[in-house]
Structure formats: C-alpha cells, structure tokens
Amino acid sequence: METSSIRHSVVLDSDACRGCTNCIKRCPVEAIRVRKSKASIIAERCIDCGECIRMCPHKAKKADSDQLSSIKAFDYAIALPAPAFFAQFDALIPTSDIVQALLSLGFHSIVEVAEAAELVATATAAVLSSADRPRPLISASCPAVVRLIQVRYPSLLENMAKVISPMETAARIAKERAREAGLHGRIGAFFISPCPAKVTAARAPLSLEKSEVDGVVSFKDIHIPMLEALSHGRTGIARTCSDTQFRAGAEGIAWARSEGESEKHQAYASIAVDGIDRVIFLLEEIENGALSNVDFVEALACPGGCVGGPLVVTNPSLARTRVRGREEERKRLFSGVPIVRSPIRTDLDWTVELSSRPALLLHADFRTASSMLEELERIAEKLPGLDCGSCGAPSCRALAEDIVRGTATPHDCIFILRERLRGLTRELMDLEDFEPPSLDHGST
C-alpha cells in the first residue's frame, strides 16, 4: 500500500508490522490506517515527523534514508553533520576526533550544518528587522513543521520566514568550497541526519527547485561505523578549526536543541516550542490570532529539538545536556582565536512559494463537499465514539470521514457490525418460527 516515497520518507517494514493500532492513534495528522493487518501511510497527509518511528513497539516504521555506502558513487563526498550529531558521542570525545572519524569513513571533507545555521539566523534576523514582516514570523527550519503548516495550517504559510534550511545552506557552501578547491568529478553532499523529514526535504524540496543535498544518512546508520572509527582514531585532544574543518561557534551548535535558534533573536519577543503536540497547540493559537504580540516562533517537531529526532541513537535528554557541553567546547576553542566566519549570504530566500496542501479537503466542489460533510456528521452520530481503533482508523470521526471518502464501510466498525449481526439473528429467529401456510398449525 506504500505510495510515492517522494512525498514522505517514513516507510513501513511490512514483515515487522503486526497491524496493531498504536501508530494510528499517535499520528498527529491522522495519516495512518491499518488495512489487512498492516499499517499504511496516506502519502498526502504524512508530514514525516517520525512519531510512528519513535513509538512503534515492533520497530516496523523506518526512514527511507541513504546508506553510508552510497557515498561511493561520488568522486568526492562531503559530510554535512547536523548540529545534533556531535551530541551523539560522549562529552570526553572532542569534536575534532568526531570530525576525523567521520572523514575516515570515506568523506573527503565536512561542512558543518551548524555553520550554515548561523548564516540562516542572520538571514532570519534580516527578515525580522523589516517593517512589513508577518507577525509572528514562524521559523521554517524544521521541515516537519513546514509540512504540517502546509497540510493543516495553510493560512500560516504567509507567516513563514522564507529562508532555506541550514542543511541546504551547508550543501551550497560545500559545493562552492569544493569548486574553489579545484575538485573535479562528481561531488556529493551528504547530510548526516537525526530526522526523516530531511530525507524528503533533500529529495523533493518544497521551497526550491532542486536540492544541493545528494544524500541523507541517518544518525542510526552511521553510529556503529563511527564508534569503530573512534576506537582507532581517538586522540582525546581537542583541536581548533585550523587543522580540522569546523568553523561553527556555540550559536550554531545550539540549533541542536530547542531554543537554540530563538536565542539569537532575543531582541524580539521570541518563543520556542518543541514536540509535535505542543507545536500543533501553538499553531492553533496563532491561527486564532491569539499570539499577535509575538515576533518570532521557533517550532521544532521533536521533543527537545533535533536531539530528540526519530533517527537518533543517544537518549535525547542526555544529548541535550551534551549539546550544552559542545557549546562550551566551541567557546573554549574559539576564545582568542580569530573566527573564520563565512560571509553573510543573500541567496538564502525560498525560490518556490509554498502552496497549501489541504489534506482535510473532502471534495474540490463546495456543494459536493457540503453534502459529504453532512453525511459524515450523520455517520459520526451513529458510531459509538469510543475511538477504539479496531476499524483501522484513529477515531470514530476519522472512520466517518473515510466512509464518505469511500475508503471504508460502516461495517468496519465492530460495534456496528455487532448491531447488524444482532438484527440478522433476530430476523433469523423470526424466520425460523415461520411455517409455510400449508404446514402452519398455529392459530389463525
């Protein structure tokens, strides 16, 4: 039942799926149904938040990310580690050792996404300082949130900070540096990712024509090779950017955790929200017009920010503390060292306007949609309202919606089915009593 992987990168491992109803209940956009004992993802609705990956008790949800071996298809592969990557490793391992280990896995060089994040922050600050900016301005750095807004809060598309992501910016920097260094041949930029939404953002970007990211390798998939590399090449000696290739300061590293981005915009009324449920709650309030006195909203789908991504290895709470440590490490490393910052970029605007993807729409024609909605309400009335999930839909209302869309029937509800069976049984009993007139010995 899996449809076009281009729209989402969360996929089902059919063999592992037991057809239980855990994921359908947890999906924040009601994008999963259980059909024939297997979960199936409705491609138009999935926002790649990865909640289902995180909570599936049978580990049947995966991200369709690239394997590390895919870098071999390129003459030069450049690693773009997410800021949260460094927090996956023990605080005693200096960042320079992590970078060396990464290089030993076959990467020619690295460009930190944290470095790019600092440029994105500067570009966002420029939007914030403009007079005609929307209020509040919502960060577009979390791709799952961007998708959520597109499918559920389309009226807030105009509130988005139309700045490309740190990942994309890092890929551009990587390609430029490769060209400047005179590298020839196929150059591939690989994002090292805590999240499936970035896989989709690289393969089918929403706000630009084509991504410069050539592949996305998950934290999970790279972790064991990294640990092996670290066991050989660990020096334990922290080095600065002069002999390794990281330039990001503490500000960029902070993007690994919630509040990392918004701290940069302290001059404004900024708030940070993390975890998909809280993000939804906040977006509702913004749509209600209740947050018009807020200037900037950092919204991250994962609890704690990117350290809480569905594809991380290290416990998010531990990783969050480690991020603070990494920030301090950067401060120490760069104190007294002239900071090599990449120049401010002016090419970070979206080049494609995001259109709404109204996942809730019942029918393009208003009258048809109206009658479908009336039918939906009538059906919902009759359903038991237990939201048990046995029908494969997350709630009774969702089943009612599926019925009017033609993808389910009332008998999918076991309670309706039982009622129907009772009725049939009664009818059978009645029929059983019935005697043809020729045999009828009963009273007239």
């Binding site: 559920r152 389309p154 749509e287 017009g289 729409l361 208003f366 949609a369 909605l373």
Partner: protein, 141 residues
Amino acid sequence: MLYRFEVPGDDFSRAGHASTEIKRIMQQLGLPLRVIKRTTISMYEAEINMVVHAGGGVAEVEIGNSQITVVLRDSGPGIPDLELAMTEGWSTAPEWIREMGFGAGMGLSNMKRNTDEMSIDTVVGKGTTVTLRINVELGAS
C-alpha cells in the same frame, strides 16, 4: 449546514474549542484561506469574550456557500455602553485576564475588522448576542 457548540464559562482552557472545530470543518469544505482565517479570528475573539465576560454561552455557526454566519448568545451582564466598548484599547477585563495576554481592548474592533458584517444586541442584565457574517467568494484564495 448548522453547527452548535456549548461554550463553557468555567473552563478557560476550553475557550477556543468551537472556533478550532469550525476551522477544521471549513478546511474540509475547501473554503478560501482568507475566509477561514477571518472566521477563525473573529469567532475565537467572540468566544473568548463570552468566557471572560459572560460566563459562557452558545455558539451557532451556519456555513453557506456565500456566507458564514456565527451567532454567539450569552446570558451575561450585557454591555452598558456599546460605543465605548467598541473603542480600541478600552477594556473591562480584570487584571488576571490581562496578565494572560487577553483583555487588551482590541477584541471588538478586531472582530469588526475580520467580518463583513457584525451586529451586537445587548441588554444590560439579560445578555448579549453577537452576530458575525463573513462573505465567501468561492474560487478566491
């Protein structure tokens, strides 16, 4: 299509529930974003007002293909001076409400701005009925 919601007066955390429901319905119907936005903002404001000032009430929403009508009825204290209440910045909200970020005195003018027609029938001691109308231009966005 007519929708009816009880707006409880004693639970502030549920204020806004009706407008959220209506928003979802409008999205299912594919109404233009601008209509959804204006309806949501004005209805939410009215809903909050009903909770803060009148101890709750009833919200009725009729969604037609040319107009959305939202009628909010309460049995609260009524508005003694409607003209004054419409003045931006004028508020009777107690301090604790203001501390929550509400009661800045922009409510009624904000509602007016986001509707095509707004009428308020109020009787002191009896209650208030607020009617909001938002025109729908199908095909527009």
